[in-house]
């Protein structure tokens, strides 16, 4: 479904040339959950944004291939890319508060993909949006639909973001550190929700995180990135229990251990 080959991203700005993503390769099938871990600056978010078609700065050079369902996302016309964005590939972000438009009602934003990509009328869209909000386990979809983002809690906002991303039933959901800004308990709930979405609808999820343990609870496979390079990849369990690279070991060692519970 998704194939990333030799992805390179080069930025030429005033400070000179930097290459935040170097020769990244990976593949995803329908229904896969793939994790990308790394520290900030490792190129993981940059790769995700490239797949979502959100890198369009003019001081940037992109090379390699991103093939999604036979379409080359890196060099297709913007018109073709826009047809895929928000319809077949959706994305959720780290900060649900700032990622939502502060002066539009949540319902309006949840429906946005339908307004852009379908010919549904107002009533249909509303019905779909309410269902999407209910699907992300929000208690009172009607109330959330009519709220403004600042009136919701952090966890509710991220659920609303997920509802907005899932309303068009995309094949791929890119989640860029979706739980980092949330409390630990809410984090776990959101991860469970993503699991359920994957299980029930078969949506593939590309999960970007700096937290290897979180990736381990959600993903089947993982890619470890450092300084723009893929340093290790494989089945999650294996990488976690038997890391080959020093860097990966370091990431695992950095996970705070809970002294009262034994790790599996």
């Amino acid at each position: 479904m998704l194939k990333v080959e030799d992805l390179n991203i080069k930025i030429n700005d005033r400070r000179g040339n930097t290459i935040p993503v170097k020769d990244v390769d990976f593949e995803m099938d329908r229904g896969d959950i793939l994790g990308i871990v790394g520290e900030s600056g490792s190129g993981k978010s940059m790769s995700a944004l490239a797949i979502a078609g959100l890198l369009s700065r003019h001081d940037m050079e992109k090379s390699g291939h991103i093939i999604f369902e036979g379409v080359s996302l890196l060099n297709c016309p913007r018109k073709v890319l826009r047809k895929i964005q928000g319809y077949e590939i959706s994305m959720i972000f780290q900060e649900p508060l700032t990622s939502l438009n502060p002066i539009r009602r949540v319902g309006w934003q949840v429906e946005e993909s339908l307004r852009i990509h379908t010919t549904m009328d107002k009533a249909e869209r509303r019905e779909r949006a309410l269902k999407a909000l209910a699907d992300v386990e929000l208690d009172d979809p009607e109330a959330v639909y009519n709220s403004f983002p600042h009136e919701l809690s952090g966890g509710m906002r991220q659920r609303a973001m997920i509802a907005a991303a899932m309303i068009s039933e995309p094949r791929l959901l890119i989640a860029d550190e979706p739980t980092t800004a949330l409390d630990v308990t809410i984090q776990a709930q959101i991860v469970e929700l993503l699991k359920k979405i994957n299980r029930e609808r078969g949506t593939a999820i590309l999960f970007i995180s700096h937290d290897l343990s979180l990736v381990n609870t959600l993903c089947e496979r993982v890619i470890v990135m450092k300084d723009g390079l893929v340093v290790e990849s494989g089945i999650c369990e294996e990488v976690f229990n038997n890391p080959k690279e020093e860097y990966t070991k370091g990431l695992i060692a950095a996970i705070p251990k809970n002294p009262f519970s034994e790790r599996k």
């Binding site: 826009r82 959706s90 700032t98 539009r104 946005e112 852009i116 403004f148």
Partner: protein, 312 residues
């Protein structure tokens, strides 16, 4: 709704304060208006008699109460120098000033918002640098000078209008507007520069925000990202600024009226200041304050509508 009611209440409280300050400061001025009226030759008896007739021998608080009651009913008392009710004196002058102010406000909004959008879309091009520099220059031109330049260019050289040829809106509203366009532009020019620059800056600032990335991720075209997401967020600070600009425009129209010989409240205010005709000054200041506060109220309500985060 409750918000609106509270704002309206605040508006009347402010106006009340203004009325107190204005009335009492004019009562504190040494020298009796009666003496001014009769001249230095007058006998103490005749001054006393006139003071009695004008009600000036009553305590200040009582005079204020009486005046305020009149004001509420639209009666601002009697002019010292014209021997006419103030209301009658300023009624049609008020119309000219208001029409001018409203036109200036309309021109400011109609020109500055598209201009600001245009500048933001052309940001960092040569055209934008040129427009920004031009804006900086325009901001430094006082409206009475731009008024003179407009008179010179459009009145004297191009002969598009006749300087000083004001036609009352009672005679012909269209021809009146046709004349007032020029002074209204003179008042609006510096505000247009300020508002368009502010809008450009806020659009640029909003464009870098996270929700814009979200909007793109849903497949929005650049145009819809701009008009459906960025623009309204960027307009919020602009609305606040417009509120302050309206007050300046109303005050500024008094000066520009003089440049274009518009018989509005400006001229009668100036002659009343030199003639120490306090009831007229008080009435005009209070009326202007009323319109300033009213325009602020409208802006506040608009602001409230635009920005759901304001709940106070």
């Amino acid at each position: 709704m409750r918000y609106a009611l509270r704002k309206i209440a605040t508006m009347f409280i402010t106006l009340f304060f203004v009325s107190v300050i204005v009335f009492f400061s004019f009562s504190l001025i040494p020298g009796s208006p009666a003496m001014n009226k009769l001249g230095t030759e007058a006998t103490p008896e005749s001054i006393k008699a006139l003071e009695h007739e004008m009600g000036l021998d009553r305590p200040v608080a009582e005079r204020y109460g009486k005046w305020l009651l009149g004001v509420v009913r639209g009666d601002f008392g009697k002019s010292y120098s014209y021997n006419q009710p103030v209301t009658k004196l300023i009624a049609d002058k008020l119309g000219a000033t208001l029409l001018l102010s409203v036109m200036a406000i309309a021109i400011t909004i109609l020109v500055s918002i598209p201009l600001g959008i245009f500048m933001a879309r052309k940001s960092d091009t040569k055209l934008d640098i040129f427009l920004s520099g031009f804006n900086q220059l325009i901001m430094a031109v006082p409206s009475f000078f731009s008024g003179i330049l407009i008179t010179l260019i459009f009145g004297v050289v191009l002969r598009v209008f006749v300087p000083g040829g004001y036609i009352s809106y009672k005679t012909s509203l269209i021809r009146c507007i046709g004349y007032l366009v020029f002074p209204a532009f003179a008042i609006a020019l510096p505000k247009i520069s300020m508002v368009s620059k502010l809008l450009k800056d806020t659009v640029m600032a909003e464009s870098g925000k996270d929700y814009v990335r979200t909007a793109y991720s849903r497949g929005n075209r650049t145009k819809s990202v701009f008009y459906k997401h960025v623009l309204f967020n960027a307009l919020i600070p602009v609305i606040t600024f417009l509120g302050m600009a309206f007050a300046d425009i109303i005050a500024g129209s008094i000066i520009v009226e003089q440049v274009f010989s518009v018989p509005g409240m400006g001229r009668i205010l100036l002659s009343s200041i030199s003639g120490r005709d306090y009831p007229v000054i008080e009435a005009i200041i209070l009326l202007l304050a009323f319109f300033v506060v009213l325009s602020n109220l409208i802006v506040d309500l608009l602001y409230h509508k635009f920005d759901p985060r304001i709940n106070v």
